[in-house]
């Protein structure tokens, strides 16, 4: 994944949309910035395959020792795949959040929300927050 080609939520999820047999598939993960903010991750709750997700709504959670952070979906559609191995190997999020650290794939059923940020806009937002 080229981070510059991804789109981002202001809640730090990233999304990459590709097409497979005429169906738009979104791959979703969380940014390196988010992982750094969360510090030591201990647990992640993944949605089940087949779950309907809505852009802007929670689809799962990630936990550190002392905090729980919701994960918000960037797209609307149905979950087709989840990264089953990820919850047992959360350190992958530290080393490779944009490739091996993908969280779920969604068959997109609606147009992407207009408020997703491009790489430059997302970088600016993170800069403001620091």
């Amino acid at each position: 994944m080229n981070t510059e080609e991804l789109l981002y939520c202001d809640t730090h999820e990233w999304v990459f949309v590709s097409e497979e047999d005429g169906q738009k598939i979104a791959t979703v993960g969380i940014s390196a910035f988010a992982v750094e903010q969360l510090t030591d991750l201990v647990f992640m709750e993944l949605p089940s395959v087949g779950t309907a997700v809505t852009a802007g709504d929670e689809f799962g959670e990630v936990e550190s020792v002392k905090a729980v952070s919701p994960l918000y979906s960037p797209v609307t559609g149905q979950v087709t795949m989840v990264n089953e191995g990820l919850p047992d190997n959360l350190d992958i999020l530290n080393t490779d959040p944009y490739n091996a650290g993908w969280i779920m794939k969604v068959a997109v059923s609606e147009d992407l929300p207009k408020n997703l940020l491009d790489h430059a806009a997302y970088q600016r937002q993170c800069g403001e927050a620091s």
Binding site: V42, F43, E63, S64, V65, K66, A67, V68
Partner: protein
């Protein structure tokens, strides 16, 4: 002022350092309109001597069970408590400490919690136990809420009528504010027809409120077929003899732990026990002690999976519980340790034998009938053909016997019935006397 230190001179020094003229000034932020302009209307202070006399007077107006022979049960039992339990829990380092927020200086409490959690798993055959809840009743309701959260079925739960009536009342109270229906069935034979794919969980008790042992393995099969969870409330003392819930197909075990080393205490504080299958650990309410290592690789214990709890997850927490029953979990841990497997087997056997002897002797009398022939553990119900339970109890009290609990209080159809509990403390003489007095 019995417990404070500051002399008037020290108080002056402190006010000076603060930059205030008087202690009253420290309360300036409170508007005068809401300040109390009179002393509190409560009785004047008592020194230790006067307090002790006053409390002795109050205590004298109670007749405690050292003055009576106790055959009362119904969820609270007169079991023998070895002296070591009281000696150890009287140590200030245990009872005046608090929740182990700083693990480095709470390894005592954390290790006790870890040992307690393990002992409960050993006793019940379950995978995971928490570090305690308030009592058996609130543990039962927390287990049902947990089951709803796990199954994501929030429309219906089933409760059997032979579960402790006060536990069922608690469930009714808690569920009144959430949308889930509580279906009550009269006994376990009615479960199969009540179960369907909207049922989150079923709550049974074994031995049940009437003392009868339920066929839990069969119930478990039925419940699981419907995709629901089985919550079973047990008697920890019975687990020295009876099949362990973990081996019988139970998903979440709850219990009142008072029998494990806590006196009657007029009903509390007691000990809520909860244990469950491994896969449910992240939904378990209450505190959990977990094993880890420190920076030097030394084994130690910490509070873990705290993200389940209210101080982190706030409105999304499984439960709102904060303070639990730490000191009473300690009592249970000491009791189970000093009793060991043979002690627990012996206690259970003594209760079984004595209860059966008592039941047989009582039902030999013309006046009393059993109400069913289901197997029972340490409690049983007898029906009074003369339908005068109140009269019986009064007569028994004249002989310093607390003969049993009148079931009419909760089950109108059983107003002529008495629930009698016989623990390892009851001697053959006491039982024979009970039979004689009730029979006369």
């Amino acid at each position: 002022m019995p417990y404070t230190y500051n002399t008037p001179a020290q108080q002056e020094e402190m006010l000076q350092a603060i930059g205030a003229e008087s202690v009253d000034q420290l309360f300036d932020l409170i508007p005068d309109s809401i300040k109390l302009d009179r002393p509190l209307n409560i009785p004047p202070a008592l020194g230790e001597l006067e307090l002790t006399s006053h409390m002795q007077e109050l205590a004298r107006r109670n007749t405690d069970i050292t003055e009576n022979t106790c055959f009362l049960g119904a969820g609270s039992y007169d079991h023998f408590i070895p002296a070591v339990v009281d000696t150890l829990t009287a140590r200030g380092e245990f009872y005046t400490s608090y929740t182990p927020y700083q693990p480095e200086v709470s390894q005592g409490n954390l290790q006790v919690m870890f040992e307690y959690q393990t002992l409960i798993c050993q006793l019940t055959g379950m995978d995971v136990s928490n570090a305690s809840l308030y009592d058996g009743g609130s543990a039962a309701v927390e287990a049902m809420l947990m089951a709803i959260s796990i199954t994501r079925r929030n429309s219906k739960i089933i409760v059997v009528e032979s579960v402790h009536p006060e536990y069922r009342q608690i469930i009714k109270t808690y569920f009144a504010t959430i949308g889930t229906e509580v279906v009550t069935v009269s006994d376990t034979s009615q479960l199969e027809s009540a179960l369907d794919e909207t049922t989150a969980a079923v709550l049974v008790q074994s031995p049940n409120f009437f003392g009868n042992i339920e066929d839990i393995p069969t119930v478990a099969e039925q419940v699981h077929e419907a995709g629901a969870l089985l919550v079973c409330s047990v008697d920890p003392i019975s687990l020295g003899l009876l099949k362990r819930p973990g081996d019988a197909g139970v998903d979440i075990v709850v219990a009142e732990g008072q029998s494990l080393g806590t006196p009657l205490l007029y009903g509390g504080p007691y000990l809520g026990i909860m244990a469950c299958r491994e896969e449910f650990v992240r939904r378990l309410p209450g505190r959990l002690a977990g094993q880890t290592v420190d920076q030097n690789g030394k084994r130690c214990w910490v509070l873990t999976l705290q993200t389940r709890e209210q101080h982190i997850r706030r409105e999304k927490a499984t439960s709102n519980i904060c303070t639990n029953q730490g000191l009473f979990a300690l009592r249970a841990a000491i009791y189970l340790s000093v009793m060991g497997p043979t002690g627990m087997r012996d206690v259970a056997n003594l209760c079984l034998q004595k209860a059966h002897y008592a039941q047989q002797q009582l039902t030999k009398l013309d006046r009393f009938d059993p109400i069913c022939d289901q197997p029972f553990f340490k409690e049983f119900v007898i029906r009074d053909k003369q339908n005068d339970i109140a009269g019986l109890l009064e007569k028994a009290e004249d002989f310093h016997l607390l003969a049993g609990v009148n079931l009419g209080k909760w089950y109108p159809q059983l107003e002529d019935c008495l629930l009698v509990a016989v623990t390892e403390k009851r001697t053959i003489h006491e039982i024979d006397q009970l039979v004689e007095v009730l029979g006369s």
